[in-house]
Symmetry: C2
Subunit: 174 residues, 2 copies
Protein backbone atom coordinates (compact mmCIF):
# COMPACT_ATOMS: atom_id res chain seq x y z
CA UNK A 1 0.00 0.00 0.00
CA UNK A 2 1.56 3.19 -1.19
CA UNK A 3 0.55 6.57 0.12
CA UNK A 4 -2.01 7.15 -2.60
CA UNK A 5 -3.98 4.04 -1.70
CA UNK A 6 -3.73 4.73 2.00
CA UNK A 7 -5.20 8.18 1.35
CA UNK A 8 -8.04 6.63 -0.66
CA UNK A 9 -8.74 4.29 2.26
CA UNK A 10 -8.93 7.20 4.64
CA UNK A 11 -11.20 9.19 2.31
CA UNK A 12 -13.50 6.17 2.13
CA UNK A 13 -14.18 6.55 5.85
CA UNK A 14 -14.63 10.30 5.66
CA UNK A 15 -13.99 13.17 3.23
CA UNK A 16 -10.97 15.17 4.28
CA UNK A 17 -8.49 17.88 3.40
CA UNK A 18 -4.79 17.25 2.80
CA UNK A 19 -4.04 18.91 6.09
CA UNK A 20 -6.36 16.61 8.00
CA UNK A 21 -4.91 13.57 6.25
CA UNK A 22 -1.47 14.62 7.44
CA UNK A 23 -2.78 14.73 11.01
CA UNK A 24 -4.13 11.20 10.65
CA UNK A 25 -0.77 10.01 9.35
CA UNK A 26 0.84 11.60 12.39
CA UNK A 27 -1.59 10.06 14.90
CA UNK A 28 -3.72 7.01 14.11
CA UNK A 29 -1.42 5.70 11.39
CA UNK A 30 1.86 6.83 12.88
CA UNK A 31 2.77 3.40 14.16
CA UNK A 32 2.86 1.71 10.79
CA UNK A 33 2.70 4.45 8.16
CA UNK A 34 3.49 8.08 7.56
CA UNK A 35 3.48 10.81 4.92
CA UNK A 36 4.74 14.34 4.42
CA UNK A 37 2.86 17.22 2.83
CA UNK A 38 5.21 16.87 -0.09
CA UNK A 39 3.67 13.52 -0.88
CA UNK A 40 0.07 14.08 0.24
CA UNK A 41 -0.79 17.16 -1.83
CA UNK A 42 0.67 15.87 -5.11
CA UNK A 43 -1.09 12.52 -4.52
CA UNK A 44 -4.45 14.27 -4.07
CA UNK A 45 -3.94 16.25 -7.28
CA UNK A 46 -3.03 13.09 -9.15
CA UNK A 47 -6.11 11.32 -7.79
CA UNK A 48 -8.35 14.21 -8.85
CA UNK A 49 -6.90 14.21 -12.35
CA UNK A 50 -7.54 10.48 -12.61
CA UNK A 51 -11.09 10.77 -11.32
CA UNK A 52 -10.45 8.85 -8.10
CA UNK A 53 -11.56 11.77 -5.92
CA UNK A 54 -13.61 14.96 -6.21
CA UNK A 55 -12.68 18.22 -4.58
CA UNK A 56 -14.94 20.81 -2.99
CA UNK A 57 -13.60 24.14 -1.88
CA UNK A 58 -14.78 25.35 1.51
CA UNK A 59 -14.32 29.08 1.79
CA UNK A 60 -13.10 30.31 5.14
CA UNK A 61 -12.31 33.79 6.32
CA UNK A 62 -9.28 34.40 8.38
CA UNK A 63 -7.94 30.98 7.51
CA UNK A 64 -6.92 29.65 4.09
CA UNK A 65 -9.67 27.89 2.16
CA UNK A 66 -10.09 24.18 2.75
CA UNK A 67 -10.04 21.76 -0.16
CA UNK A 68 -12.16 18.83 0.93
CA UNK A 69 -11.66 15.62 -1.05
CA UNK A 70 -14.37 12.99 -1.59
CA UNK A 71 -13.64 9.53 -2.94
CA UNK A 72 -15.42 8.42 -6.13
CA UNK A 73 -16.56 4.95 -7.19
CA UNK A 74 -13.47 4.67 -9.37
CA UNK A 75 -11.33 5.60 -6.38
CA UNK A 76 -13.03 2.99 -4.23
CA UNK A 77 -12.33 0.37 -6.90
CA UNK A 78 -8.65 1.23 -7.00
CA UNK A 79 -8.40 1.12 -3.20
CA UNK A 80 -10.13 -2.26 -2.97
CA UNK A 81 -7.89 -3.66 -5.69
CA UNK A 82 -4.91 -2.64 -3.58
CA UNK A 83 -6.40 -4.31 -0.53
CA UNK A 84 -7.07 -7.53 -2.41
CA UNK A 85 -3.66 -7.81 -4.00
CA UNK A 86 -1.38 -10.51 -2.70
CA UNK A 87 0.49 -9.32 0.37
CA UNK A 88 4.06 -8.46 -0.55
CA UNK A 89 6.32 -7.15 2.15
CA UNK A 90 9.15 -4.98 0.91
CA UNK A 91 12.35 -5.80 2.80
CA UNK A 92 12.47 -3.46 5.71
CA UNK A 93 15.68 -1.93 6.97
CA UNK A 94 16.19 -2.01 10.73
CA UNK A 95 18.70 0.61 11.80
CA UNK A 96 19.18 -0.77 15.29
CA UNK A 97 19.77 -4.37 14.22
CA UNK A 98 22.20 -3.23 11.55
CA UNK A 99 24.26 -1.46 14.17
CA UNK A 100 23.99 -4.40 16.53
CA UNK A 101 25.50 -6.56 13.81
CA UNK A 102 28.61 -4.36 13.99
CA UNK A 103 28.78 -4.04 17.78
CA UNK A 104 32.24 -5.65 17.80
CA UNK A 105 33.64 -2.52 16.17
CA UNK A 106 32.67 -0.03 18.86
CA UNK A 107 33.43 0.41 22.56
CA UNK A 108 31.45 -1.09 25.45
CA UNK A 109 30.25 2.39 26.36
CA UNK A 110 28.97 3.00 22.87
CA UNK A 111 27.22 -0.36 22.84
CA UNK A 112 25.41 0.45 26.07
CA UNK A 113 24.49 3.88 24.80
CA UNK A 114 23.00 2.49 21.59
CA UNK A 115 20.80 0.01 23.41
CA UNK A 116 19.63 2.67 25.82
CA UNK A 117 18.84 4.99 22.93
CA UNK A 118 16.82 2.25 21.33
CA UNK A 119 14.92 1.60 24.56
CA UNK A 120 14.17 5.32 24.77
CA UNK A 121 12.92 5.28 21.22
CA UNK A 122 10.71 2.28 21.95
CA UNK A 123 9.30 3.96 25.05
CA UNK A 124 8.36 6.90 22.86
CA UNK A 125 6.68 4.57 20.39
CA UNK A 126 4.78 2.95 23.20
CA UNK A 127 3.54 6.31 24.44
CA UNK A 128 2.56 7.15 20.88
CA UNK A 129 0.26 4.14 20.76
CA UNK A 130 -1.08 4.69 24.25
CA UNK A 131 -2.08 8.19 23.22
CA UNK A 132 -4.45 6.57 20.71
CA UNK A 133 -6.54 4.95 23.45
CA UNK A 134 -9.20 7.63 23.08
CA UNK A 135 -9.41 7.18 19.34
CA UNK A 136 -9.62 3.42 19.84
CA UNK A 137 -12.51 3.75 22.25
CA UNK A 138 -14.51 6.40 20.41
CA UNK A 139 -13.94 6.48 16.68
CA UNK A 140 -12.16 3.26 15.74
CA UNK A 141 -13.99 0.38 14.11
CA UNK A 142 -13.54 -3.15 15.56
CA UNK A 143 -10.69 -3.96 13.16
CA UNK A 144 -8.84 -0.77 13.95
CA UNK A 145 -9.05 -1.79 17.57
CA UNK A 146 -7.42 -5.11 16.67
CA UNK A 147 -4.78 -3.08 14.89
CA UNK A 148 -4.28 -0.95 17.98
CA UNK A 149 -3.98 -4.00 20.23
CA UNK A 150 -1.59 -5.66 17.82
CA UNK A 151 0.58 -2.56 17.90
CA UNK A 152 0.57 -2.46 21.69
CA UNK A 153 1.72 -6.06 21.95
CA UNK A 154 4.29 -5.48 19.20
CA UNK A 155 6.04 -2.71 21.13
CA UNK A 156 5.78 -4.57 24.41
CA UNK A 157 7.45 -7.58 22.83
CA UNK A 158 10.15 -5.42 21.30
CA UNK A 159 10.90 -3.78 24.62
CA UNK A 160 11.08 -7.13 26.43
CA UNK A 161 13.29 -8.47 23.66
CA UNK A 162 15.64 -5.50 23.83
CA UNK A 163 15.86 -5.72 27.62
CA UNK A 164 16.81 -9.36 27.27
CA UNK A 165 19.46 -8.36 24.76
CA UNK A 166 20.75 -5.77 27.23
CA UNK A 167 21.00 -8.44 29.88
CA UNK A 168 22.79 -10.82 27.54
CA UNK A 169 25.26 -8.08 26.67
CA UNK A 170 26.01 -7.43 30.33
CA UNK A 171 26.40 -11.15 31.03
CA UNK A 172 29.04 -11.40 28.30
CA UNK A 173 31.49 -9.37 30.36
CA UNK A 174 31.27 -11.59 33.40
Amino acid sequence: MNIQNTILGLLLKEPQTGYELKQLFDSSLAFFSGASFGSIYPALKRCEKEGLVNMEMELQDGKPNRKVYYITEAGKDIFLKGMQEELTISPYRNEFLTRLFFFADITAKERTHLIESYLNYLAMRQEQIHSLADFAKKKADPYQILCYRFGLRFVENLIANTRLLYKELKDMNK
Copy 2:
Protein backbone atom coordinates in the same frame (compact mmCIF):
# COMPACT_ATOMS: atom_id res chain seq x y z
CA MET B 1 23.12 3.31 8.30
CA ASN B 2 22.83 3.59 4.57
CA ILE B 3 24.11 0.93 2.23
CA GLN B 4 27.50 2.56 1.80
CA ASN B 5 28.28 2.43 5.51
CA THR B 6 26.97 -1.11 5.82
CA ILE B 7 29.32 -2.12 3.02
CA LEU B 8 32.22 -0.42 4.79
CA GLY B 9 31.37 -2.36 7.95
CA LEU B 10 31.40 -5.62 6.03
CA LEU B 11 34.71 -4.78 4.35
CA LEU B 12 36.16 -4.07 7.78
CA LYS B 13 35.62 -7.72 8.69
CA GLU B 14 36.95 -9.01 5.40
CA PRO B 15 37.87 -7.70 1.94
CA GLN B 16 35.24 -8.66 -0.59
CA THR B 17 33.88 -8.26 -4.08
CA GLY B 18 30.57 -6.63 -4.91
CA TYR B 19 29.17 -10.02 -5.76
CA GLU B 20 30.12 -11.45 -2.38
CA LEU B 21 28.66 -8.42 -0.60
CA LYS B 22 25.38 -9.06 -2.37
CA GLN B 23 25.42 -12.63 -1.04
CA LEU B 24 25.93 -11.35 2.49
CA PHE B 25 23.04 -8.93 2.11
CA ASP B 26 20.92 -11.87 0.98
CA SER B 27 21.93 -14.14 3.87
CA SER B 28 23.44 -12.82 7.12
CA LEU B 29 21.93 -9.35 6.78
CA ALA B 30 18.70 -10.32 5.08
CA PHE B 31 16.65 -10.03 8.23
CA PHE B 32 17.30 -6.35 8.79
CA SER B 33 18.97 -5.02 5.66
CA GLY B 34 19.28 -5.59 1.94
CA ALA B 35 20.81 -4.24 -1.24
CA SER B 36 20.67 -4.79 -4.97
CA PHE B 37 23.59 -4.82 -7.40
CA GLY B 38 22.32 -1.51 -8.67
CA SER B 39 23.20 0.05 -5.35
CA ILE B 40 26.25 -2.00 -4.36
CA TYR B 41 28.43 -1.46 -7.42
CA PRO B 42 27.90 2.31 -7.64
CA ALA B 43 28.54 2.56 -3.88
CA LEU B 44 31.86 0.74 -4.22
CA LYS B 45 32.93 3.03 -7.06
CA ARG B 46 31.98 6.08 -5.03
CA CYS B 47 33.94 4.77 -2.05
CA GLU B 48 36.99 4.14 -4.20
CA LYS B 49 36.86 7.64 -5.65
CA GLU B 50 36.66 9.08 -2.13
CA GLY B 51 39.55 6.94 -0.88
CA LEU B 52 37.44 4.91 1.53
CA VAL B 53 38.39 1.63 -0.13
CA ASN B 54 41.10 0.24 -2.41
CA MET B 55 40.46 -2.20 -5.20
CA GLU B 56 42.59 -5.10 -6.36
CA MET B 57 41.79 -6.99 -9.49
CA GLU B 58 42.03 -10.74 -9.25
CA LEU B 59 42.40 -12.25 -12.68
CA GLN B 60 40.47 -15.43 -13.29
CA ASP B 61 40.20 -17.56 -16.35
CA GLY B 62 36.93 -18.94 -17.38
CA LYS B 63 35.15 -16.64 -14.96
CA PRO B 64 35.01 -12.82 -15.02
CA ASN B 65 37.76 -11.08 -13.07
CA ARG B 66 37.06 -10.34 -9.40
CA LYS B 67 37.41 -6.82 -8.05
CA VAL B 68 38.30 -7.25 -4.40
CA TYR B 69 37.74 -4.18 -2.23
CA TYR B 70 39.78 -3.38 0.89
CA ILE B 71 38.77 -0.75 3.41
CA THR B 72 41.22 2.10 4.10
CA GLU B 73 41.81 4.04 7.32
CA ALA B 74 39.65 6.85 5.95
CA GLY B 75 36.91 4.32 5.25
CA LYS B 76 37.13 2.94 8.74
CA ASP B 77 36.78 6.47 10.15
CA ILE B 78 33.65 7.10 8.13
CA PHE B 79 32.14 3.79 9.18
CA LEU B 80 32.85 4.40 12.87
CA LYS B 81 31.39 7.89 12.66
CA GLY B 82 28.21 6.34 11.32
CA MET B 83 28.15 3.83 14.18
CA GLN B 84 28.64 6.55 16.77
CA GLU B 85 25.98 8.88 15.46
CA GLU B 86 22.83 9.23 17.51
CA LEU B 87 20.39 6.46 16.64
CA THR B 88 17.62 7.83 14.44
CA ILE B 89 14.95 5.45 13.27
CA SER B 90 13.25 6.45 10.06
CA PRO B 91 9.51 5.77 10.28
CA TYR B 92 8.97 2.32 8.91
CA ARG B 93 5.99 1.40 6.82
CA ASN B 94 4.27 -1.85 7.76
CA GLU B 95 2.25 -3.19 4.87
CA PHE B 96 0.33 -5.73 6.92
CA LEU B 97 -0.70 -3.33 9.67
CA THR B 98 -1.77 -0.77 7.10
CA ARG B 99 -4.10 -3.31 5.53
CA LEU B 100 -5.34 -4.42 8.94
CA PHE B 101 -6.33 -0.81 9.62
CA PHE B 102 -8.71 -1.06 6.66
CA PHE B 103 -10.05 -4.56 7.36
CA ALA B 104 -13.59 -3.19 7.67
CA ASP B 105 -13.58 -2.51 3.92
CA ILE B 106 -13.00 -6.07 2.74
CA THR B 107 -14.81 -9.40 3.11
CA ALA B 108 -14.32 -11.92 5.93
CA LYS B 109 -12.71 -14.31 3.46
CA GLU B 110 -10.22 -11.66 2.36
CA ARG B 111 -9.42 -10.82 5.97
CA THR B 112 -8.65 -14.45 6.74
CA HIS B 113 -6.59 -14.76 3.59
CA LEU B 114 -4.49 -11.72 4.44
CA ILE B 115 -3.66 -12.96 7.92
CA GLU B 116 -2.77 -16.38 6.58
CA SER B 117 -0.54 -14.79 3.95
CA TYR B 118 1.18 -12.82 6.66
CA LEU B 119 1.70 -15.95 8.76
CA ASN B 120 3.19 -17.65 5.70
CA TYR B 121 5.50 -14.72 5.18
CA LEU B 122 6.58 -14.81 8.82
CA ALA B 123 7.24 -18.55 8.62
CA MET B 124 9.52 -17.85 5.66
CA ARG B 125 11.31 -15.17 7.62
CA GLN B 126 11.74 -17.56 10.50
CA GLU B 127 13.24 -20.19 8.22
CA GLN B 128 15.52 -17.51 6.79
CA ILE B 129 16.95 -16.85 10.24
CA HIS B 130 17.15 -20.51 11.14
CA SER B 131 19.23 -21.09 8.04
CA LEU B 132 21.83 -18.79 9.57
CA ALA B 133 22.46 -21.17 12.49
CA ASP B 134 25.63 -22.44 10.84
CA PHE B 135 26.96 -18.94 10.27
CA ALA B 136 26.11 -18.08 13.88
CA LYS B 137 28.03 -21.07 15.20
CA LYS B 138 31.08 -20.84 12.97
CA LYS B 139 31.81 -17.37 11.69
CA ALA B 140 29.75 -14.93 13.74
CA ASP B 141 31.32 -12.86 16.51
CA PRO B 142 29.59 -12.77 19.93
CA TYR B 143 27.60 -9.65 19.07
CA GLN B 144 26.40 -11.08 15.81
CA ILE B 145 25.13 -14.03 17.79
CA LEU B 146 23.17 -11.62 20.00
CA CYS B 147 21.82 -10.13 16.79
CA TYR B 148 20.84 -13.58 15.56
CA ARG B 149 19.10 -14.43 18.83
CA PHE B 150 17.32 -11.08 18.88
CA GLY B 151 16.05 -11.77 15.38
CA LEU B 152 14.82 -15.23 16.36
CA ARG B 153 12.84 -13.88 19.28
CA PHE B 154 11.55 -11.02 17.16
CA VAL B 155 9.95 -13.35 14.61
CA GLU B 156 8.68 -15.69 17.28
CA ASN B 157 6.97 -12.80 19.01
CA LEU B 158 5.50 -11.58 15.76
CA ILE B 159 4.12 -15.00 14.94
CA ALA B 160 2.56 -15.37 18.41
CA ASN B 161 1.13 -11.86 18.12
CA THR B 162 -0.36 -12.56 14.71
CA ARG B 163 -1.88 -15.85 15.90
CA LEU B 164 -3.49 -13.98 18.76
CA LEU B 165 -4.83 -11.47 16.28
CA TYR B 166 -6.22 -14.32 14.21
CA LYS B 167 -7.97 -15.68 17.28
CA GLU B 168 -9.39 -12.28 18.18
CA LEU B 169 -10.70 -11.93 14.65
CA LYS B 170 -12.46 -15.28 14.82
CA ASP B 171 -13.93 -14.47 18.23
CA MET B 172 -15.49 -11.31 16.81
CA ASN B 173 -17.93 -13.33 14.72
CA LYS B 174 -19.28 -15.32 17.64
